[in-house]
Symmetry: C2
Subunit: 554 residues, 2 copies
């Protein structure tokens, strides 16, 4: 089979203006970035009252290092929908250059179920990530400058809460000392996160208008002064300039799939260290223009889906009709204790040993009131016997089951899934969302609700800095915000190596930060890093340009 | 008078495809970034054999903090050319977000002589700076990761020569310690420069094709190993991936002026800390499509123009027909010792006291064999008496003199200048370039040639690290590269406060770095910083978004 980028290059793309026109988007709303990418102006997208169309969430069981192919299934489902005569629009996150040049690779789907042009989408795309990086770091520079220039007047922060970001996997920047030497400002312990973990990224995902963006930027909490007052972007008087940097980035990006169907790809927080969903703007646009809006939330359902419901849907009122849970045999076998080198080999018992992971995710999703359909993401090495055993197991749980072969076959390989999704929405749509915790619970209780009821933790412990931050949050009146737990994607626990069932573990909260602009409380659980590192042999060694064409992107 | 951005918004822009078509650029070569910005594919731009059209360099006397308006004059000259029936194309640098949010403001011209859309150009534009930042920092992360991952095998650098960059004025990042704490790599003293000082920026300016870009990226010297060997990007095997990040950024950007004439705006190294000229691609494109190509080199002629001739023209074979020297009364008065608060007041004697600066620049430019024309950049406060006294002085030096009022009047305010430029090129074109030093001189001698003959220094001294770097450069066989002196723009000396004549000063070389990819030797003279800081009240406080429109950019 051809590589992802070979397939991508083989597709004859439609002019994006044609794709936009077909959706009913007026040409005045379309801002081209080359022939095949456009930004859509936000004035016609209603984020207050979503179109009464069908919203479908695609999530997955706990992933392998290569992921379960959620994006491939999301795109595949849209292609399958088109094949059965339905108008579906997919809304996805933008990829980060960190994993693209690091280990996991890009994030534009795979095989014959991709969003295109994949090289542009995986690299700089329309510059949204760079605008977010710039805005984040401009605030950092303005803050350090403010501290430096107003020090003589007695201005001092006892706690600095703003970090810099970069869209690169650079472990050396996690903890740094800045301002060393003469004339270089105030010596400070500081650090960088990866751009998908920036509060600005989250703000861009939640902002429903330019005014709402301004309000959120102004509200960002940068630090606490010596006399115990919050110090915000508004206090520096630079909110307008930061919004100026983000004005274009707020507009959702329209691209197309391998079969010419429309796709909105906009903003990209990771789901392990951030909330893991594309922008509200993009979801609203998909609902506005598609009868079926298909969106995706990152990593396993313990991360992306939990945050999709408890944060994104809570904030916006979005109500998914259905949740699609992506399952792969390789992940099941990994969770069943099969050695990494053997997970591609037929092994019914090994697969069955991993059911606990699937079952727990299904139970969790159902706890939100969601109807769950299983999308089996088929790989070439999977056997019919394994698939049939798994189908039976899923049907016994009361979940619809369909094989998705969109990676190898495009839309025609996802028709079974599309039919199942449409039928299930007609016959058994989800109940109104039931959230895991209430707004007015204390922060500790919210963490416990998620940890006990969804992760299966036995206890929750908090570091001193986490405890003191909770006190700060109370003073700020921010207890009502939802929580965004940062933890490993490889386990329900906080131990990335704990592949097996992990009931009763201790969830240790290492730190807490409050995003006063994004309006959520970030809970850092276990040793998870908000800035990844690179492996010994990074993907960068395999990306190349040959005769002017990019190769090796996946 | 309206502000720059008010004027910019009042202009009805032509679709950029129309501007491109008028230049004779085929629609297949045009990649739109919105309606009014395009990238032009590089395949039709010949950088080996430049079109035999007229090349004009615009430079200036030593500037005030606000600059002398070189970009305004460059654009104005192009507008004036159009008014007198000539086909002129201007080639300029892209602005940096550092000064835009810091002190100096943007860099897209001013008044009725701007390149448009000025808000996009001053902010993210087509993302070239962000691509360069990303490529630079991806190399830094890959390098630190290589050191970390190969440490156990005995790999060690005794000298690390690669720094990170950011397009923000952030003094706190000049000197930092990275890799603090467990699992965060190797603790290292490091630092950030501003993006316009990145070697990648210089490489993008000099690269004549994708293959040439690859060769230069591979050649970048990252450090010296313990056993005294150069360690390059090629040694890490990631050159192709870095080129992939830069592929779109290599294409020159086409925009339009306030009067709809074409402008290439591409790459933007500062002239005080880098070589100060737009890309060879953009200059070649301007020569390809215009009968007159007008380009600009940053800050005073001691910086940008010197580097334009000695570096850019030397490398490429470009031969300017004429150099336009921009003069303002405010700068002359400043150089004449008039107090900052009084430089806008009529003062013939104060102006005359500043002639030394003008005269020295003229003499320097003539030393390259250049015919010099003086463009008097008129401000509202300038008096006719002052202008006439100055005109006489310039004509006595044998230089043509014309008043440029393009800021206030657009093209019709630059017709006198345009006529003078055309006539001078016809009657007295410049001689072939005479360089200040030869390729095969030792590095010390090259520095002395520029310092003694152009700056008027009395002595050149070198720090120990500069001396040891010269030894390294000899070993690398890089002595033949031209030198790029980083020093203050406010004085011929290295003392930013020495406004008056400075003959006989000591030029102290604090450090030297070698750009094996850009193929030049960067000589850091005096206390100049390659990462600026922000002032107490930065421009960021005055930039805003009102009713969806950006305000306060200048």
């Amino acid at each position: 089979m051809l590589t992802d980028i070979e397939i991508a290059k083989s597709v004859k793309l439609r002019p994006i203006n044609e794709v936009a026109a077909e959706l009913g988007i007026h040409e005045d709303q379309v801002e081209n970035y080359g022939r095949y990418i456009a930004k859509i102006t936000t004035d016609k997208i209603d984020t207050n009252k979503f179109k009464n169309h069908h919203l479908i969430l695609v999530t997955a069981i706990s992933p392998t290092k290569a992921g379960n192919g959620k994006t491939t299934v999301s795109v595949g489902l849209a292609l399958g929908m088109q094949k059965i005569g339905k108008k579906a629009v997919v809304a996805l996150r933008e990829p980060s250059l960190g994993p693209c040049f690091g280990m996991k690779g890009g994030a534009a789907g795979g095989g014959y179920a991709q969003v295109l042009p994949m090289d542009k989408i995986n690299l700089h795309f329309t510059g949204d990530f760079h605008a977010i990086t710039e805005a984040n770091n401009m605030i950092a520079a303005l803050l350090d400058n403010y501290r430096f220039q107003h020090e003589a007047e007695g201005f001092k922060l006892k706690k600095i809460l703003w970090r810099r970001v970069m869209d690169v996997n650079d472990r050396g920047l996690r903890r740094i000392i800045t301002g060393i030497g003469d004339k270089n400002g105030i010596e400070t312990e500081a650090g960088f996160d990866i751009t998908p973990a920036s509060e600005i990224m989250a703000i861009m995902c939640f902002a429903t208008s330019v005014d709402d963006l301004r309000r959120r930027i102004d509200n960002i909490l940068l630090g606490i002064t010596e006399d115990d007052k919050p110090f915000t972007v508004k206090d520096m008087g630079v909110g307008g300039s930061i919004v100026a940097l983000l004005l274009d980035a707020l507009k959702p990006n329209l691209v197309q799939t391998t079969e010419g169907t429309p796709a909105f790809v906009h903003c990209g927080p990771f789901a392990n260290i951030a909330h893991g969903c594309n922008s509200v703007m993009a979801t609203a646009a998909a609902l506005e223009y598609g009868d079926y809006a298909i969106t995706e939330a990152g990593f396993g359902a313990d991360l992306g889906a939990e945050k999709f419901y408890n944060i994104k849907c809570r904030k916006t009122g979005l109500q998914p009709d259905l949740t699609v849970l992506v399952v792969t045999l390789q992940a099941l076998k990994m969770h069943g204790g099969v050695a990494q080198e053997d997970i591609k080999k037929p092994n019914v018992a090994g697969m069955e040993a991993g059911y606990w992971n699937l079952d727990k995710h299904v139970k969790n999703l159902q706890s939100f009131g969601q109807t769950v359909v299983i999308a089996f993401n088929k790989f070439a090495t999977d056997t019919d016997e394994e698939i049939e055993v798994l189908r039976k197991h899923c049907e016994e749980m009361g979940c619809g089951f369909a094989v998705n072969s969109a990676f190898a076959e495009g839309g025609k390989g996802a028709m079974e899934l599309a039919e199942l999704v449409v039928k299930t929405i007609d016959e058994h749509p989800s109940a109104p969302l039931y959230f895991t915790y209430d707004d007015d619970e204390p922060v500790e209780k919210k963490i416990e609700d998620v940890a006990f009821n969804l992760y299966g933790a036995g206890s929750v412990t908090l570091s001193d800095s986490a405890k003191s931050m909770i006190e700060e949050i109370k003073k700020l009146g921010a207890e009502k915000f939802p929580i965004c737990i940062a933890k490993t994607q490889y386990s329900f626990s906080t131990d990335a190596k704990a592949y097996g069932p992990t009931e009763g573990f201790e969830l240790h909260v290492r730190d807490i930060t409050v995003n006063m602009g994004a309006e959520m409380i970030v809970v850092i659980a276990g040793p998870i890093m908000r800035m990844p590192g690179l492996p010994k042999s990074p993907q960068a060694e395999r990306i190349d340009v040959v005769n002017g064409e990019i190769t090796g992107l996946s």
